[in-house]
Chain length 264, copies 4
């Protein structure tokens, strides 16, 4: 009978800190090692070492999720930073809260569809993909991982990420399932609809056996450095007040309009 | 006369996304490139490419700031994750808010002391370090970047980070200023007091010319992956409720005790 | 054709601020008025004035949700406050993130069950309640709004809130539906299981026609003052470090134990 | 020798919950009581009961801090809510993080000036106020609590709050010290500069003996219901995407401009 330990992630004593079972200073950032934050992060999060191919793919994913201009996430970070510049971490935290269901949550929803397709014998997967697409169309909802309001005909990030998986020998059943969905979506829509970045990310994290409910963690990590970059720029060329003015003055309040659509 | 642009960090069109002036898919994660999240993050945040030596040092810093067991930061993340598991990003955000003045803020405070020492001619630096230490002792406050309640006689992370700077030819005036302070602290205390991890981090980020007010951004980035690891473990072996019970039952409320120390 | 306005909540000019269509200083906190934060908050959030009876009930709800000792929410707030005391708002924000699915989310889930019961003719409601309880038992999940690990046989808060609704003539169909569920749960379980505070809150907010997806907003408001109280106490009698030590030392890491239950 | 208790704020047993030394259900929301969230919150936070006059003033303060349209705080809340609507509490938390040094922090800074003025004998206060104003002018910084970019010649909220203090017999030394500063500022500037809302709030909280470092807690409480109102409106008439588009398209990126002002 083992007693319960609180965490296996880290322990420490007077002269050392351990990450899982390795000494931080004698093993991980030891003399002769080339320290690699992404490799150590993945090992620490997942409990296993990634292969060099997996690491290349993970780096590409993190870079892709880092930045997309003045998104709601960056707007929140900028707005908070101008209000509380003494509190850089709060501004990052505010922006990270945008890594939610509307955008990044599609990673998880797409991953669940891919898992469902993969769970049936190979010969039945195309039919299941067709059924999934038909169902979504019947309910008039987008298939998660497809379509993008800013990128047409293709989300360049999705195409490139899938290529990177192939270049690194990592394009397996998840990528194949994603392509089955893509083929069906185009066929049923009668036009081309792009796989988007979150669709590709979900397939690639799936290939790396990242649990669906943990996928969002990697999205958060990638986004963090992008938000720090927005703060760095805000420190040099602040636009927080410009955003405020822009929104505050956008459309003057029209009292007469209120009558018919009160919040009651 | 130039008109003001909102951001130089990113722009996009139908078929491409740019990070600063580079195409994400054609330049940054392009065919033939080995994508490196830390290198791209640093370039994106700082607006310049780090040298290979700087990158090795930055990776070591990020790894070092990632984890230290069940700290207040990890406790907050675990507590929030058990309360709102649908909201992984909120749990990370909650924990990141601990990257504040009490712990990581010492990076900035130490960096300001180092900048002050470096700002005087080399021959006067030891004297200024002595004066700084004397002042702190007179005010009975710790010199930021020194001492650690869990690591004695030395914080192993600090020693190793300073070595890594030397191995990579990056130990310059900031590291020298830190050592001047260390020598004076020991001399005036009459015993050895360790340089701690935040002291070493501030010297190394200083060598890389990271602005003081941006240093905390790198601390946040490093911490993020550690908090994701805590969530990953919480998903497999939850201890959130154990922490709650432990604290809730710690010491029963003693009404009779309240009289003398009311919150009035 | 009306053009879209950004918000009907507030507009301002050089000499006045309006909350919806009322002048803050000339109408809301005007001479001769008794300013009532809860009444104005409810009117501002819901777009209608609450009756005196509704206001009494809402005050009781907010007070009830304010505090329950060292919960995960309070632990997070305390842990963050000790780490970043310069950033009181971040500590409150961290604790508020615990107002999620595991605890307060049951308000919404229970409210949806009550709405479902109310949507059928009165004569069929008991049967539907029975069916709902049977379904939950079959799936071996708790009916949201019932049971409490700290309060037995009854959650005193739930009983009192339901009484307050009755005292104020507000106990209508939602309270009746909740009691139908309660009767069925006891019958099928063969023992008494308490309605808990969130169950009662959901019935009462339902009686006040608060939309289900907005109910959590009132929970957040009530919780906020409780978390500010924890910070006030932390300023006078800090226990943040005590919590940290307690958790950090709870159970030493047992490397030998790790083998069989790795995080892979 | 007393042993340390964790908290005096709350304890609970199987059948009751206590807020400080009072039973929630038998004392605070007991039969015959009119439950008052603001009164109980203030008592819980401050450890003493407010007088009816103080309560009226506190209600006016909370109402005043609740709302000011599409501020950075509301923009952050709206942006996060559109990104993660399943996570209402995160959107509130994001907006609350704007209650920082740039806006609400002036409450604290002004309060410190008032405390300084009050700490000298009454006959010397005008001279000290003059000296404080002279110092700020010499350093070319605003006196905290004065001036407003949207309200001229007077911030109507400040005037009304100070009136309310007088109507309730609460205008004492803090309000007098604020007026001394106001007189000096106008005299030295040669024109009228308004006391702003945060200036008045700091004087009034000072009259109520709220510790300076806790003042921000009341600002957070007032703001919370305003942010919930913004979410309620976002649920009915979303503008999150409109804000995003507005900012994203504000001014197109001009690569040629970048040369001279790189982020290096």
């Amino acid at each position: 009978m083992t007693k319960k330990t609180t965490t296996a992630l880290s322990h420490h004593n007077l002269t050392d800190v351990y990450y899982r079972d390795r000494s931080l200073v004698n093993d991980i950032i030891a003399k002769g090692q080339t320290p690699d934050f992404v490799a150590i992060s993945a090992w620490h999060i997942l409990g296993r070492e990634l292969s060099p191919a997996e690491l290349r793919v993970l780096n590409a994913i993190l870079i892709t999720l880092m930045e997309h201009g003045l998104t709601p996430s960056a707007i929140a970070t900028r707005s908070i930073y101008m209000s509380a510049p003494e509190n850089l971490q709060g501004a990052v935290a505010a922006g990270l809260m945008a890594v939610g269901s509307s955008f990044v949550g599609t990673v998880e929803n797409n991953a669940r569809l891919l898992d469902r397709i993969i769970s049936v014998p190979e010969g039945q997967r195309a039919a299941l993909a067709a059924e999934i697409v038909t169902d979504h169309r019947a309910q008039r909802v987008f298939v998660p991982g497809f379509g993008h309001h800013l990128h047409k005909p293709d989300d360049p990030r999705a195409l490139r990420l899938l290529e990177i998986a192939e270049e690194n020998g990592l394009a397996g059943s998840h990528c194949a399932a994603l392509r089955l969905l893509a083929t069906e979506i185009d066929a049923q829509a009668g036009k081309h609809i792009t796989i988007n970045a979150t669709g590709a990310v979900s397939a690639l994290l799936g290939e790396m056996k990242v649990p669906v409910k943990l996928m969002r963690g990697f999205c958060v990590l990638g986004r963090t450095s992008g938000l720090v970059a927005h703060i760095a720029e805000e420190q040099k060329r602040p636009i927080g007040r410009f955003i405020w003015d822009l929104v505050d003055k956008a459309v003057p309040y029209a009292p007469e309009e209120e009558g018919g659509q009160g919040n009651d």
